[in-house]
Symmetry: C2
Subunit: 163 residues, 2 copies
């Protein structure tokens, strides 16, 4: 459990956490790898969401997942980029959250992921929460918590319930 003051301070910034779907670059499951290669070469995220035609979240794709397909015995195979589809290389083992307010689960997932996709109850893609936005809140929190709270070190010396 997060302690109350920390959770409140994190939630206060929760509106800023979500980068909405309409400004997050994405590709579709049936796009060929050449298209995804071009998109990933041009934008700054190293992994981007893969959606179906209706906008459901299907997985993530990165340049290494694509360039690995190009590795041949002694040279790079570029023809394969036109032949394969994103659905053949995407990573589908991706944890999502359903609300930017789920601070505890999001924090947990961000240890291993640079961003966490947000979906609705029907798995429609709503946007992403990035470590970058959390780092800003972390910075804010580490500076502000002392202004808003007096912090008094607990004395466990006579306590048998300290853990």
């Amino acid at each position: 459990m997060l302690i109350k003051p920390v959770e409140e301070m994190l939630l206060r910034n929760a509106d800023h956490y979500l980068i909405p779907a309409d400004i997050v670059a994405n590709v579709q499951t049936d796009n060929n790898l050449y298209h995804a290669f071009l998109v990933l070469t041009k934008i700054k995220y190293s992994r981007i969401p893969v959606l179906d035609h209706a906008g459901h979240f299907e997985g993530l794709v990165s340049l290494p997942l694509i360039t690995e397909k190009m590795l041949g015995f002694d040279q790079l195979n570029t023809d394969i980029l036109m032949q394969c589809r994103v659905s053949e290389v995407m990573d589908t083992d991706i944890k999502t959250v359903q609300s930017v307010g789920d601070v505890e689960e999001t924090l947990h997932l961000m240890v291993d992921n640079p961003f966490v996709p947000v979906v609705d109850s029907a798995n429609m893609f709503e946007g992403i929460i990035t470590r970058r936005e959390f780092m800003k809140s972390f910075n804010f929190l580490t500076h502000e918590i002392g202004r808003q709270y007096d912090m008094i070190e607990k004395d466990f010396s006579n306590s048998s319930i300290a853990k």
Copy 2:
């Protein structure tokens, strides 16, 4: 300024922040792009350090910096990977820190960077500090700070110096 209890809790984990140079994948300034392409396809970091032969930190290179060189008018140019060197595409505008104990500066840099290179006073590459390790500390801090400190909300209602 970070407040004391937060800084102390972050510093307590500082030993774990540094991923030492000898286990961080890197390439050298005069490697060709084909070599860097293979390394970046195989490892998990999206950007890796570029060093000179003596081990000085020179910059970072990513797959998009390489694949952008491959873009031609209507097809991908793979020959260029053998012809160009890492020094021609690497990003040299990279902020570094000289100590894992410099928590405040590192936190600041991590808002915009997934990791921060650590160098010594002669610019020799010593390792990296990643957002991932900081997220672990952040998690720890948000859960532990309430166990170790009583937090009492300050009353600014009668204060004229609140800011």
